[in-house]
Structure formats: C-alpha cells, structure tokens
Symmetry: C2
Subunit: 272 residues, 2 copies
DNA sequence: GGCGCGGGTGGCACCGAATGCCACGGGCCG
DNA sequence: CGGCCCGTGGCATTCGGTGCCACCCGCGCC
C-alpha cells in the first residue's frame, strides 16, 4: 500500500559474488570499487574517531572522500557498514574454509580454523582494529552491529557442526543440535575473548597463539561429544586445570565411538 | 557542532527504576504507563503481523492505539522496542535473581536460574511469543535486535560468573575470564536453542523441563567439578570408572602407567 | 567516426524514524 | 483555588536510507 521497497540495486555491497570475475575489462572495475570502499571507510573512521559516530553525517563522510552522498550508499548498505567493510568478505572466506576442510578432520577443529580466518582479518590491520574497537565500545549502535556480525559466523559454524557431527551414530534423544550450537558458540566466544583482550592491550603480541591456547581449553571441555580435561584431585575445578598430584578426569558419552574416546583420553594423557 | 542529542527525557523507557514506587498517588501513574505500553505493543504486533514490519509506520501504530505518534516514542525508544517490551524488565529481574542467590550455590546453577527467568517471560504469553518469533525470523532488523538483547543477558552472566568463580583457588595461567565467558554463552545458547525449538513447535509442551534437560547436558560437559568426587582413584587402582546413565566418568592418576589406565577404561566400556 | 550500451556517478525528491520544544489539560497538594 | 507535576498533542527539524533520472565515460559494433 505504501512504498514497497524494491531493494533493487545494492545487495551486492558484499564481496564480489564471483570469486573469479573472468571478464577481461570488468576486473579493473572491481578494483576501482574496492579502492572506493577503502577510501570511504578510511574517511569514515577518521571522522568517527575525531567527532564521534552520531555527530558525523553521511554527507560529511562522502564530502571527505570527495564523492556525493548517494555514492556512499552505493558502496555501503548503511552508515555502520563503513566501519566493518570486511565482515561480509570474511564470512564467505570462513565458509570456504569449512567447505574445503578435509573429510577426516575433527569438525570442531575445522570451525576453529574457520574463526581463525576472522581473527586474521582483525590482525591484518591492528591500528584500524584498535580504533574500531574503541568506537564499538562507546557507541551502542555499533556494538550491536558487531554482535550481529559475530552471530552470523556463529550460525555458519552451527550449521556446519550440525551437518558433520558423528554422521553414523545418532542418539535417540538426539541432543546433537544443542551440542552443535553450544560448541559453535564456545568457539566464537573464545575468539571474541582473545580478540578483545588483544585489542584492549593495544594489539600487541601474537594473537594467533593466544587463540590457539583458548581453543585448547575449549577442546578440553568439548570433544566431539566427549569432554576430557585435567582437574585437581579433590576439589571442584571448572575443568582443565593442572597441578601437582593431578588426576585425569574424563567424561564421555557411552554411546560415542569407542576408539574416539580412547584417542581423546590418550591425547590428554600424553600432554604431560 | 550539529545538534548534540541531549538524551534528555526517555531512558526510563525500561522498567521503573524503583521496584517500590512508595509514592501513594504515583502508583496508578505507573500502572497507567504499563497499560499504555501493552496497548501500543499489542497494536504494533497486530499491524506487523498483518502488513509486515517495514510497511508499518509508527504513525499507524499510534493511530491504532488511539494516541499521537509522539506518545509512542515516549514509551518506546524505537520502533523495534515495541516488539520486545519486556526485555529490559526481564534483564533487571535476572540480575535480581543473581543478586539474591545463596552464597553456597554453584554459580553455573545460578545463571541457569537467571536465564530461566527469561524463558518464563516467553512462556508467560506463548501466542505472542510465537507471533514475535515469526517476525524475527523474517525481518533482519528485528533479528539483530533480539540478538542484541540476548547479548545483554550473556554479558550479565559473564560478569557474574567472573566474580563468583572459585573465589579461593586462582590459577597462575588464569583462564577464568575465558571460562566464564564460554560458560555464560553456553547457558544462553542452550536457552536459545530450547526456546527456538519450542517456538517452532508452536509453543506446546513444557519448556522449563526441556530447558532443565539442556542445562543438564551443559553441566555435564562443563562441570565446575566433573563428578570427580564419586569415583576415587586410590593408590591401589590406577583408575576408577563409573557409568551414570549415558555418561562415563573416569578418574585416573596421571602417574599411573598409561596402558594400564587405557585397559581399565576399555574394559569398563566394553562391559555393556 | 557515429552509435548504442552498460555501469558508475551526481543530484534531486521523498519517506520515515527519531528528537527537541512548546503549549494544553488533568489530577494532586498546599 | 492557584500552583505544580506529568502525560499528551502537535509542530519542526535532523538525518539515514531509497527511488529516479540525467549525465558521462569506456567499450564494442555497424
């Protein structure tokens, strides 16, 4: 009855749909487009950092980049997106990582490698990431936008885990969907934790190593339906701690494949 | 330089700051306010369900509720908030649950009770929840808004867990912040999973029981003490194995010969 | 060369969400 | 009864976002 938005033109704001343009002349066009995105994003970050997010209008961003307001919205779906220009790209790259994963790999390891792709995107330009982090901490709108982005990764991983969980052995109670979701959220949460800590510290140090350590802890509490960890002898410790006179505690589902249980236990034991 | 939004009046759109108004005459005012919120929210839901979210203007919602457009924004910070009128309230109630938790209670159990408060809010009006669910599935804006709300609960729980994790025993490596975050996200994710499943099924059946079951699974993999007390690894035996329902619990001393531990476990597993 | 064609651009108009401001009106208290 | 508080209505304004049209530039084709 009213206007019925046609959503005609953009929706290609994200990464190029075809990873290989193949068209001879159209490649420069894509490069030009990317360059424009970078310039607009840089101008936006600059303005946001100096005079604040809300106080900065799209007009000013466009003017700073030397283009018209209308052009800005041809490259970004919204004002927020100028701060996260790479999330869409990274999402498809993460999906590609999952897609190209070797069949024998533990699905949990696969999604860990997937989110590491995200971490690499942040680590690729530490200065920008730190500035962006400062912004997202202050402006609620941006915080929610980032949360939404992270949720997209999480859903991707959840779907993947659900499709690669123990193809053969299905329980009747079937808590697999729950476990997939929880595992995906654990991996993503670990990533977020390490990332934020790294950003708060000014983006110094080796994030990837820290991330791997976090994954180690997550893996210790989750395995594919198996949780194995080291815990103190007498007391209730939140799984995965080591100390003298230590004891290995294993919690395993009896219906999980036997050899996988044994492998998990063996790995945990040999780790010291 | 521009307008510098004063953010003067609302920000009390959420629940009443004072749980006890105490003022004799001001109580009816709060009740009136609540009633208005309900009416506006109902009108909004009705319109959203019939003609869609984007196609519905705030003017129409206000008109349907018999008030002016300006009044709508006195009760809701935004158009989206009309769909989630109870989240702010529920957040403070969840915080109250954490606050009033007995000191001896397992923090993980406490946050489980906290999020159960959220579940109860959904369960209180199943029909509305289902309609809202349908909307959030379709409209990206609303989906992101809901994700943001959920993130607020998660942060609340993370902070709580961080403050109540094993006050005494702190490891030097100190992965507690990570574990707190992961645990909180696990609890919230479990809640989301059960909730969505329940809503997809048309809000039939006992959600709370399903939620408890999901908590059970989360507790099994997370622990805060993985049933280490039940089976003891004394000097005589290299490993003690006990099976509880679907789960195998093993406690083994790491200084015992590896193959002997493995043999003990294998024997116990095959004994099925 | 002229010509059409496709894609990026500028500019304009417009809708609608959101906020500030002021004036009205109805309860409540002194 | 006259003040006060507060919710409300209505108006004006800013600004994000979109549709539409005209323009221009590079390319291939007749």
């Amino acid at each position: 009855m009213k206007y019925r938005p046609h959503m005609s033109q953009p929706a290609r704001s994200p990464s190029p749909d075809t990873p290989e343009p193949a068209t001879p002349g159209a490649r420069r066009a894509a490069a030009q487009r990317l360059k424009m995105r970078r310039e607009l994003s840089a101008a936006a970050m600059e303005l946001f950092a100096t005079k604040g997010y809300e106080a900065t209008t799209v007009d000013e961003i466009a003017a700073a980049a030397g283009v018209a307001r209308r052009t800005f919205f041809r490259h970004f779906r919204s004002k927020e997106e100028a701060i996260f220009p790479d999330h869409d790209d990274t999402l498809v790259r993460a999906a590609a990582v999952l897609d190209a994963a070797p069949a024998h790999e533990n699905p949990l390891d696969t999604v860990c490698r997937g989110i590491k792709e995200v971490m690499r995107m942040y680590a690729a330009s530490p200065a920008v990431s730190v500035a962006r982090y400062r912004l997202t901490r202050e402006v609620p709108t941006l915080r929610e936008a980032e949360i939404a982005s992270v949720a997209r990764y999480e859903r991707l991983f959840t779907r993947y885990l659900l499709g690669h969980f123990d193809e053969g052995a299905h329980r009747e109670g079937d808590d697999d969907p729950l476990l997939a979701e929880v595992a995906a959220s654990a991996v993503v949460t670990a990533h977020n934790h390490v990332l934020r800590r790294w950003l708060r510290a000014g983006a110094q140090g080796d994030v990837e190593t820290q991330l791997d350590h976090a994954f180690e802890i997550v893996r210790e509490t989750f395995g594919t339906g198996i949780g194995a960890g080291r815990a103190d002898a007498g007391e209730s410790a939140p799984a995965a701690v080591s100390r003298e006179g230590e004891v290995l505690v294993t919690v395993a589902r009896t219906d999980a494949p036997l050899d996988e249980i044994m492998r998990t236990i063996e790995r945990a034991l040999k780790q010291r």
